[in-house]
């Protein structure tokens, strides 16, 4: 059994970077009860959770991840895995209901999500339906980390932009408006490019104005992203060092056409090419993050475990940004992360989420004993739930640490 000589906070103070400790947690938010009806393979479940570590254990396909997805749904009004709501309804049933009772700054919050086949979904806070779902987002901050997040590392640049944009728009409302505006300008410019194919003189009168607009809004987005990546890198490195044991050097490099000169001139120079292609080849919509491990691209040369450590550290950095923005820790969901992660890294990950920064954590795993051995040493309260073919049973041997 491993025992760490230092706590995470001590590790931080020795490095001199106390990024979150100044923010002692006075606010609180956690999920007390969850009721499910016909949600994916879970026909019925009534569960009580603790502040601390809640563990769902069971075989693959038993429904562990569906429990996490239900909790995710209550925060974001949508599934993490499936964008089609009706497919969340249990096979051959007519509706699903997900109900959560939270405690937020000592006040109860009842959140209700329900969907009947071929009807509009209902989403209520304390029995009152939201006029717009977007008003709910941010009430119950949450971060999910799942094996599918490997996309962040291995897929195209759009995944990394989505990650960056997702975090910034949650902490900066103005940014989302800039993004929407940029995309609209880009659509307009691309439409103009297509209309110019095979014809001459169609766009001369107005291409300059679209170039200026794209450059102007693109610059604002570029500035915000650059600032964010500068803040992200040390936080990411901190978590990566901790989980990996500190023997790997990791870096995040932000790449944008905006770094290569005057973007408006570039748009002008590439106009002929853009017209042939029918879309805009320069701008922040092509930005990317280069993810380096010991100066190699982790995408190409990283092992499964190294890639996993990389995206886990990225998502934990996201967690920290949300924590300092909201003033209290989001709920953390860890979906099946211990597979293909070596034992030391897995242990350190749990050790990490056992630190004070994290309040309520939900973990799924296939191996109960392994998980139990790890959570025992965190000093946090923990509870185990056995999941078998859509049935969830709270384990009798729930232990409260003190």
């Amino acid at each position: 059994m491993f025992i760490y000589a230092f706590k995470f906070e001590q590790l931080l103070s020795s490095s001199g970077k106390l990024l979150f400790l100044h923010k002692r947690i006075w606010h609180q938010m956690h999920l007390n009860h969850l009721n499910l009806l016909n949600f994916k393979n879970i026909r019925q479940a009534e569960l009580s959770f603790i502040e601390g570590i809640n563990c769902f254990v069971g075989d693959n396909g038993a429904g562990k991840t569906n429990l996490l997805d239900a909790i995710y749904y209550l925060s974001f009004c949508k599934s993490y895995f499936n964008s089609i709501d009706s497919q969340l309804i249990c096979h051959e049933e007519e509706f699903f209901v997900v109900q959560g009772r939270y405690e937020r700054d000592s006040q109860p919050e009842d959140i209700y999500a329900g969907l009947k086949r071929s009807q509009k979904k209902q989403f209520k806070r304390n029995k009152k339906e939201y006029p717009r779902l977007s008003e709910h987002i941010g009430l119950l901050p949450l971060v999910m980390i799942s094996p599918g997040d490997e996309r962040l590392i291995v897929d195209g640049s759009d995944q990394r932009r989505k990650f960056v944009d997702g975090v910034i728009s949650q902490i900066d409302k103005n940014y989302l408006e800039q993004l929407l505006r940029y995309n609209r300008i880009l659509n307009q410019r691309n439409t103009l490019l297509k209309s110019a194919r095979g014809k001459s003189g169609v766009i001369e009168s107005q291409i300059d104005i679209w170039n200026s607009q794209l450059a102007l809004t693109g610059q604002a987005i570029f500035d915000r992203r650059r600032m964010f990546v500068e803040q992200l890198e040390p936080v990411f490195q901190k978590y990566h060092n901790y989980i990996s044991g500190g023997n790997e050097v990791v870096k995040i490099n932000y790449h944008s056409h905006h770094q290569k000169g005057d973007i408006e001139l570039m748009l002008q120079h590439n106009l002929a090419k853009d017209i042939v292609l029918g879309y805009t080849t320069r701008g922040v919509h092509r930005d990317d993050l280069e993810l380096l491990l010991n100066s190699y691209a982790v995408k190409k040369d990283g092992s499964q475990g190294q890639k996993k450590t990389f995206f886990i550290a990225l998502k934990l950095a996201q967690f920290e940004f949300l924590n300092s923005h909201f003033g209290y820790p989001p709920v953390l969901l860890l979906d099946d992360l211990f597979d293909k992660l070596d034992e030391n890294r897995g242990n350190r990950l749990v050790e990490l989420v056992g630190s004070d920064l994290f309040r309520q954590i939900f973990i799924t795993d296939t191996q109960k004993q392994r998980l139990l051995d790890i959570v025992k040493h965190t000093g946090k309260n923990y509870a185990f739930f056995d999941v078998k073919e859509g049935e969830v049973v709270k384990d009798a041997q729930n232990v409260m640490n003190d």
């Binding site: 609209r184 659509n187 307009q188 009168s205 107005q206 104005i209 679209w210 607009q213």
Partner: protein
């Protein structure tokens, strides 16, 4: 019951025509047609002549492109208005909204829309050149932008601003109390009036 079966071909024709109007379904169209049937013949005569004359006799003002009964609209023909001050708007409805505030004493220039390739509208489809020509004569001292606060509205402002840069004209924009994307015609009169009075130099909004 078959609701599409009419006892009279004439009634059916009238219902068909009414239901072509925006926001009018077949049920409402039938109600309107039956209402017309109950009216005095003289009243119906007047009604149909007003509709016919609207379409056949109305003109667009040669100066500002506003709707008009004559070649020049009432606003442009009014010597008491300040002809050196030109407010640029998208549509005739915006002219009506601003006139309702009773805060504006200049004249207008109706563009007929905003630049939007996705809607197939380029600068040449709008009455931008007549505005620039007018500015080049030295007859204009101030141009006020009052287009909708959308990205396309901003882009159109920017486009015109660049075209006017060569002339000694002050270019201003109405102060927006209304949120982004709101159409001018929906802003209440007090807010709109205030934003006209508190207009800003356009270059400061860039």
């Amino acid at each position: 019951m078959n609701s599409s079966r009419f006892p009279s071909r004439l009634l059916e024709n009238a219902v068909n025509e009414f239901s072509r109007l925006p926001g009018i379904g077949r049920k409402t169209a039938l109600r309107l047609a039956l209402f017309i049937l109950k009216q005095e013949k003289d009243d119906v005569q007047r009604f149909s002549e007003a509709v016919k004359a609207l379409r056949e006799e109305i003109q667009y003002c040669k100066v500002c492109h506003n709707l008009s009964d004559d070649e020049i609209c009432e606003i442009c023909a009014n010597p008491k208005r300040d002809h050196a001050q030109v407010c640029v708007v998208e549509s005739i409805r915006d002219v009506m909204a601003i006139e309702n505030t009773q805060q504006y004493k200049g004249i207008y220039h109706v563009l007929g829309g905003v630049i939007s390739p996705m809607d197939g509208i380029g600068p040449d489809d709008l009455s931008i050149n007549p505005l620039v020509e007018k500015a080049s004569t030295g007859a204009v001292s101030e141009v006020i932008f009052a287009l909708s606060a959308t990205m396309e509205g901003d882009t159109t402002n920017f486009y015109i601003y660049k075209k006017l840069a060569a002339f000694p004209i002050s270019v201003t924009t109405i102060a927006r109390g209304v949120s982004v994307g709101d159409e001018l015609e929906y802003a209440d009169e007090v807010t709109l009036g205030r934003s006209l009075v508190n207009r800003l130099p356009f270059e400061k909004t860039l």
